[in-house]
Structures are given as C-alpha cells and as structure tokens.
Symmetry: C2
Subunit: 121 residues, 2 copies
C-alpha cells in the first residue's frame, strides 16, 4: 500500500485527449477513471452494469431516449445498466467514472471513439 493520496486535478493535468478514460484507482473489481470530454459521444449502453458519472469541472449532459440530464461540477448521476445514453459536453468537461473493471466506453456500439481499457494516469 502506497501512502500517497490520488489528487484528481494533478491526474487531470496529465490527460491531453478526449473521450479516453484513464484509471486512477481500483476498489475490489471496480475502477475509478478520469476523462476529459468535449462534443458528442456515441449512443451506447452497458448491458451488465450501472455506470456512475461525476463532474469534477465544467458541465455535461447525458441524453437518454426519453429525456436528458444536465450535470455540473459537484454533481453525479447513475446510469442504470441496459439504458441507452449519449454523453455530450459543449465545452471541455472533466469527469470521473466509476464502473467495473473491463467496461468498454462505447459499450457494444464500437466505433472510432472506443478507447483502450486499463490505461492508468
């Protein structure tokens, strides 16, 4: 056990790309990931798991087939498993995701925004 705190701002300063989650910590078989987002993501779902979005800086939206939710700094939202969603941020937004190890960012939708898993920052 390393007695060093994980500083989110310091970790975020090392992330230079968009839509590519970077792992900052693991709890049992779950991962905490930071990601910078901007623009439109793809419609997708995670059939096996809920997914937590937590906004560190900025503002984002999550579109659903029947509505949307707007999240600002200091707000979180749990997307239930199996629910189609599309994240969006007009300006760059910094978020933390919490989900089981192995979850692919685009679910089964695939495409060019699919990020490599288990990349740590």
């Amino acid at each position: 056990m390393t007695l060093e705190p994980v500083n989110l701002k310091e970790k975020l300063s090392k992330i230079t790309d968009h839509w590519s989650p970077k792992v900052i910590g693991e709890m049992n078989d779950y991962q905490f990931k930071l990601v910078k987002i901007q623009g439109d993501f793809v419609w997708h779902e995670h059939k096996e798991t809920d997914e937590v979005f937590f906004v560190i800086e900025g503002e984002m939206m999550i579109e659903f087939r029947d509505g949307m939710v707007s999240l600002r700094k200091g707000e979180m939202f749990v997307v239930p498993k199996g629910v189609q969603h599309k994240p969006y941020a007009e300006r760059e937004c910094h978020i933390m995701l919490v989900e089981p190890r192995g979850v692919v960012n685009t679910g089964e939708a695939g495409g060019e925004l699919t990020a490599e898993n288990d990349k740590w920052v």
Copy 2:
C-alpha cells in the same frame, strides 16, 4: 430512472451529525455515501472489501498501523481490505465513501460510533 442529478453540496447541507454515512446513490451492489467527520474515529478494518475515501471539503487523515495519509479536497484514497485504519479530522471535513452495500462503518470494532446502515439523504 429519475432524471435528477445528485448534488453533493445540497445533500451535505442536510447532514447534521458526524460519523454517520448517508447514502446518495447506488451502482450495482455498491453505495456512494456522504459523511461529515470531526475528531477521532475508532481503529477498525473491513475484512471483505476495499473502501474509497474521497474528500469533498476540508482535510482528513487516515492512520494506519505503519503510517498515515493526509487527504485534502479533491483527493482520494483506497484503503485495501483487511487493513486496519483510523480516520481523523481536526476540523469538520466532508467526505464521500464508496463501498459495497452493507458495510458497517466501524467494521467489526463496534462501539458507540457504529452508524445505522442504508440511511439515505
């Protein structure tokens, strides 16, 4: 699914006691809890699970048998399962915990600081 974000500051404003975690969200069989802490907690461990501490406001310390870690706003730390620890905050500190549903705050140590589980705020 309710299309309402969970605002941490708003939830924290409703918490009036210390060392009594309140649930603000669930992801699969895990819970996100907010808790205000001040002073000394008890030495304890969680034999079955890691536990995530995330500081929302203020500063806290986690003592271990062989060292300690200091956490400020925007910093997190994962206490591995089975590791004895004792949280402490000189001044009131607001934190978020992430751990499986059913985890007792004092582990198997018990005592008067043992909080009721599954209390939502």
